[in-house]
Symmetry: C2
Subunit: 332 residues, 2 copies
DNA sequence: TTGTACGCGTTATCAG
DNA sequence: CTGATAACGCGTACAA
């Protein structure tokens, strides 16, 4: 591996000049610039990023800690983050907290010892307070897919309320009035906001909110199944279900299939997130699109900006309705 | 950020002693060791990994370049790689080639300039020759999910032939004799091997191979759809389909649904890969399980081993059959 | 067992 | 515009 010294020797200039050429410093004569470039080319020179990092105290890398790397959510997000970052000479170091608080903390420490320029946090296991604490301890932490009021300017999050509203409004527009909702775990702000959007749409249409029509889905793998079952066992009448996410919608699909029914017939179903596998569902799922890729891009840009001028602003992204086949006008 | 010097000052010893304590060197008196540890604790000392890397010429990080970070495949794989690696103090730097050869090459260069200890290659866009060339150029490259004969000892790959065999054998055992197959793109070795497994099973059962029953699926998003359509338009009789992957199986699901049929009735369907979303298909897909997580673990261990003693051996993993609902005995 | 001092490959300051 | 030279933080022979 060639070093800057070998390049400077070959080019017959000082290391300083080589360094200047690398960093696009203008104050180098054209002759020397070309000599240096030729030498670099010949030696296949690649600057040692550790030496650079040591000298500049910047690592040109950003760390991301996610709850879990698997699952359909993080792939696309990391993809877009990495693409933007790399275009600007930054690298992405990926760590996973395995959805355990302690491991998430440890991941942050780890990244910090790697002197990353910034840390992206995409975690659920920690409480808001713990996130806040972490942000105090280490600078340049950004929070994705989560809104922490005290950290508003470092959060990139979805307007979940709007999504809940859009989903419900769509059903109302189709003529539904008896609309149930299976929410995600309500200890998560997202889930509460989505529910609030549902309520907003109802109230806007003058439809009364009925707690009987609400069920809370829990965390576990089959949390959605249990919640959906509960709803259908209740003695309430409804013609549509707004789901807290696509997985819950799948649970509803399953329940309907047991009676040989299909979503969009007696019961309309709306999902939330538009996970890529949702298109494999039949009938195709009407759902709320979560702009995952945009969120990644926004995060990457926020990091990039904060490295120059250290002002940042939180970013709120907007979900949108994707109408497919699982919703239709109620049968009269 | 505290440095080794501040620690040594506080502890009243030399930097060398602090360094020794960090690196578990025995030749430090118990007294000093404790003093140093106390000082480190008090200062919240974290070694600067760049300085370490510069001094030792080792980075304690491994890079991975994947064709694309999105898609259901890489999440679980990276998850397992990262978990193993981190346990051994190594970090994972993730880069994506966006399925373009040039970007994949560039990613390798990038990682190399980061002085990663090893590079994991999970790419499809490059040809074997290009991969070989790269391995010559840079040492410590490992190839995942791909078998390159010349690079056998650095490959971690699946026994695809066995998978094809298992899928087909399962159908034969159920009583099928007219078994079609929609393969993946046959320029990929995987696809050819899977097809070969299909042939082996047929021949073992004394069933003649009929080219009319074979269709090649292509790359594009709808490649599977087109291939499936082609098969069903042909004037051939069959009661089961072995698919080159789960996506192709989904295409078959779709075609059957157009005539209000369901897999496992007139036509049985077997997938390949057992992508996690396959469980959301209804009826649930019978498929070949690809041990993604194991592959990640094997890769991480291979890297770890090669860093100590630089001997490595290729690893072949075995797929297994997962019987669910999309296969049944043929109707008589 | 401990400390001194040099080297790792860059950047950046300061004279020239 | 260019070249010495001092950091940057740590590991490690070598000497004590």
């Amino acid at each position: 591996m060639a070093t800057i010294k070998e390049v400077s020797d070959l080019a017959g200039v000082s290391q300083a000049t080589v360094s200047r050429v690398m960093n696009g410093n203008n104050k180098v004569s054209a002759v020397n610039r070309e000599r240096v470039q030729a030498a670099m080319e010949k030696l296949g020179y690649q600057p040692n990023s550790f030496a650079q990092a040591l000298a500049t105290n910047r690592s040109y890398s950003v760390g991301i800690v996610v709850g879990t790397l698997s699952g359909p959510f993080f792939g696309p997000m990391m993809q877009s983050i990495e693409t933007v970052l790399r275009k600007h000479g930054q690298h992405l170091i990926a760590t996973s907290g395995d959805d355990h608080i302690e491991q998430e903390r440890e991941a942050v420490r780890f990244l910090h010892s790697r002197r990353v320029d910034a840390i992206l946090l995409v975690v659920q296991a920690m409480t808001d307070d713990e996130v806040i604490e972490l942000c105090k301890q280490y600078p340049n932490i950004y929070v994705l897919n989560r809104y922490v009021p005290e950290l508003a300017e470092r959060c990139i999050y979805l307007n979940n309320e709007l999504g809940g509203y859009l989903a419900t409004k769509h059903l109302i527009d189709l003529g539904h009035t008896k609309i149930a909702s299976i929410t995600g775990p309500l200890i998560h702000l997202d889930a509460r906001e989505r529910l609030q959007g549902y309520r907003n749409a109802l109230s806007e249409a003058g439809i009364e909110y009925d707690p009987q029509l609400i069920v809370e889905g829990l965390f576990q793998e089959d949390g959605g199944n249990k919640a959906a079952a509960k709803l259908f066992q209740r003695d309430v009448d409804f013609t549509a279900v707004v789901c807290g996410n696509d997985n819950i919608a799948i649970s509803v699909y399953d329940i309907l299939s047991r009676t040989n029914e299909s979503p969009g017939e007696r019961i309309s179903v709306v999902g939330y997130d538009d996970m890529f596998y949702s298109r494999y569902l039949r009938p195709k799922l009407t759902t709320i699109r979560f702009p995952i890729v945009d969120m990644g891009i926004a995060a990457a840009n926020m990091v990039l900006n904060s490295l120059d001028q250290d002002l940042t602003n939180g970013v709120q992204l907007e979900p949108s309705l994707v109408v497919r086949e699982s919703t239709a006008a109620p049968r009269s």
